[in-house]
């Protein structure tokens, strides 16, 4: 028989257990808050310091020895051009590799090696890619410290991200779509180009945006290839340089990018340059946040609109 004292003891145990549950929930929320708070403080601190500096001259001036005249024109133009090279080389290559691994690859040791290799590449520190680029692109291929070298370096860096995103969004397509297409007599490539790629394009786009957001903020590999930090000119516009001028003269131009400009200002002792660094940092964080936010929103829409 259950005694009244036993009942009380059991109730005490339950109360205590519930208290522990509550206690851990609070610890969990507090831990989350550490992350949230750090991010908020970082963002607000940079905004307070940097936003007053964000005039239109800041975006249209070259870096200068006088902090109040310095701007980020060459940095943001450089970032845009480097990202162009990165996207044009990494996206086709990454998507093609992802399609091969999901749709074509036979189950054998070659495929295993490629797969293990890709997950290994994702774990290599970015600065090692910088060393690769220094040895290979800058000196061996002779591209020099140019937009081309930087763009290709970042392309190698985000290649695993794009491959993984491509594979995941292809895997989300039901097998029935493949089977229906093959049953109609389509070849593998017809199935891929008419069905698989269109249906997975939104997922791939999400991965590409996340990869590009990462590439925009990467500093270490670009410093390693020896990018100049004081650039007071823009790359030559297409057909504008010395004859024979071509459409792609700019890819061999020296350059600077946003994170390098920020690093340069951060490492100066004068307080006015720190303000510039905060302003450049604010622009940089704003760009990566906007891109990541867009990717998250796309993924959310995608999950909502999925019809199969």
């Amino acid at each position: 028989m259950l005694q009244a004292t036993d009942l009380a003891a059991i109730r005490a145990i339950i109360t205590r257990a519930k208290r522990w549950d509550l206690f851990f929930s609070i610890i969990g929320i507090l831990s989350l808050m550490v992350g949230v708070l750090t991010f908020t403080v970082l963002f607000v601190d940079m905004a307070i310091q940097g936003v007053p500096r964000l005039t239109s001259e800041f975006f249209t001036s070259f870096p200068s020895r006088r902090p109040e005249n310095a701007g980020i024109l060459s940095a943001w133009v450089g970032t845009v051009l480097v990202m162009l090279v990165t996207a044009l080389s990494a996206v086709p290559l990454g998507v093609a590799a992802g399609v091969y691994l999901e749709e074509y690859a036979p189950k054998n040791w070659v495929t295993d090696i490629i797969e293990i290799n890709i997950s290994n590449l994702a774990g290599i520190p970015s600065i090692v890619y910088g060393l690769l680029a220094l040895g290979l692109f800058v000196y061996y291929f002779g591209f020099g410290q140019s937009i081309l070298s930087a763009g290709l370096t970042l392309a190698l860096l985000i290649l695993p991200v794009i491959i993984v995103a491509t594979r995941e969004s292809i895997r989300a397509i039901p097998q029935a779509i493949h089977e229906a297409s093959y049953a109609c007599g389509a070849t593998t490539w017809q199935t891929v180009s008419d069905h698989i790629l269109p249906y997975s394009s939104a997922g791939i786009l999400t991965g590409v945006i996340i990869g590009m957001a990462r590439a925009i903020g990467e500093t270490a590999p670009i410093i390693t290839i020896g990018a100049l930090t004081f650039i007071a000119f823009l790359p030559t516009a297409p057909f504008a340089g010395d004859p024979p001028a071509g459409l792609f003269d700019w890819i061999f131009a020296p350059f600077t990018v946003m994170p390098i400009q920020m690093f340069n200002w951060t490492s100066r002792p004068e307080a006015e340059f720190q303000v510039n660094a905060a302003a450049a940092g604010f622009v940089l964080v704003f760009m990566t946040l906007a891109m990541n936010g867009l990717a998250i929103y796309l993924r959310f829409q995608l999950r909502k609109n999925i019809k199969w």
Binding site: G28, Y104, T266
Partner: protein, 317 residues
């Protein structure tokens, strides 16, 4: 998998006797094979990247080790490659890397694990849907911005607590690096915990266990291999992190395990040399490849350890 792989190759003489439709089909096979080969080349390119990394690092390090004996590299206690009296003791840079990584992990592992447990076992659907993208945003902030934050915000605050703290120190760089790594640890551990089948939790609840007891004594042991590989990924991120340390930890080589001192890491040394103007082929130029090779071997060892842990301790349901 491939539809075209089993197709017989047609002898050239057949082409004349068959109808247009069928000969079109023959060209279709050729096109398929060409496309497949191109896609394979794209996939195999990643292997080429790995080989190129190893080749470049080993080649330059080889010339470096022709000048510097390996024992000096491993056991010398000074790192002054750019001075007249050159010493090449990688131990000095390793101590900076290990100290800052240790500080980062002291922050990232407990917080990351708690966040993962909370999100997977306690939080409601809505909290999780908001928290996960937010963590992703936190992981997407450029590391140079974190470095700026450590130098201009965290260090002055720490200096108010410990007035002796130098302006550049491994402590504040390590702490910020820890916050940067939290998202990686948390999201991978959470994935591992969510992969634990519901029936294990239901069994535990049916025995009268509370949420916390279930989380700690059922879910965590079942997800150990995944959690361990999340930790290892965190470690290899910390070891390879560059800009936070280059900005906030100073770049003076310093053989110390005290986080309250400035120090150089393997990564920040590479940045320091790259910022200068060393001639291609000089021994100073080669040191960064030797340092990079050391870094690559370390991260490779961690990645292999993670792979092995996942295989060895995976619970199969």
């Amino acid at each position: 998998m491939s539809a075209s792989a089993s197709a017989p190759t047609l002898p050239a003489s057949i082409g004349q006797g068959i109808s247009d439709r069928l000969s079109k089909k023959a060209s279709r096979h050729v096109k398929e094979r060409v496309i497949e080969a191109a896609l394979f080349a794209a996939a195999a390119f990643s292997v080429f990247v790995t080989l190129a990394i190893v080749y470049v690092l080993v080649k330059e390090s080889w010339s470096f080790f022709e000048h510097v004996p390996l024992t000096d590299f491993l056991f010398d206690t000074q790192w002054t490659p750019l001075f007249d009296d050159a010493h090449y003791g990688i131990m000095v840079l390793l101590s900076g890397t290990l100290t800052s990584s240790a500080v980062a992990l002291v922050v990232a592992i407990p917080l990351g694990t708690i966040i993962a447990l909370y999100l997977s076992e306690f939080a409601g659907f809505k909290v999780r849907e908001i928290a996960k993208p937010f963590l992703e945003l936190l992981g997407g902030v450029p590391t140079i911005v974190y470095g700026y934050f450590a130098l201009t915000f965290l260090t002055p605050i720490l200096q108010k607590i410990y007035p002796d703290l130098p302006g550049f120190n491994l402590l504040s760089a390590g702490l910020v690096m820890g916050v940067m790594i939290i998202p990686y640890v948390a999201s991978l551990s959470e994935d591992a915990m969510r992969a634990v089948p519901m029936s294990l939790r239901e069994g535990s609840y049916a025995m009268g266990a509370t949420r916390l007891q279930t989380a700690l004594w059922v879910v965590t042991p079942a997800a150990t291999s995944g959690i361990a590989s999340a930790y290892i990924l965190g470690i290899s991120r910390a070891v390879g992190e560059t800009m936070i340390l280059a900005v906030a930890a100073g770049m003076q080589p310093n053989l110390t395990f005290n986080p309250a001192e400035p120090g150089a890491t393997i990564t920040s040394y590479i940045v320091q040399v790259a910022l200068g103007d060393l001639p291609h082929g000089s021994i100073g130029y080669q040191t960064i490849f030797a340092a990079g090779l050391t870094l690559l071997l370390m991260t490779l060892a961690f990645n292999l350890l993670g792979y092995w842990l996942r295989k060895r301790y995976r619970e199969v349901y």
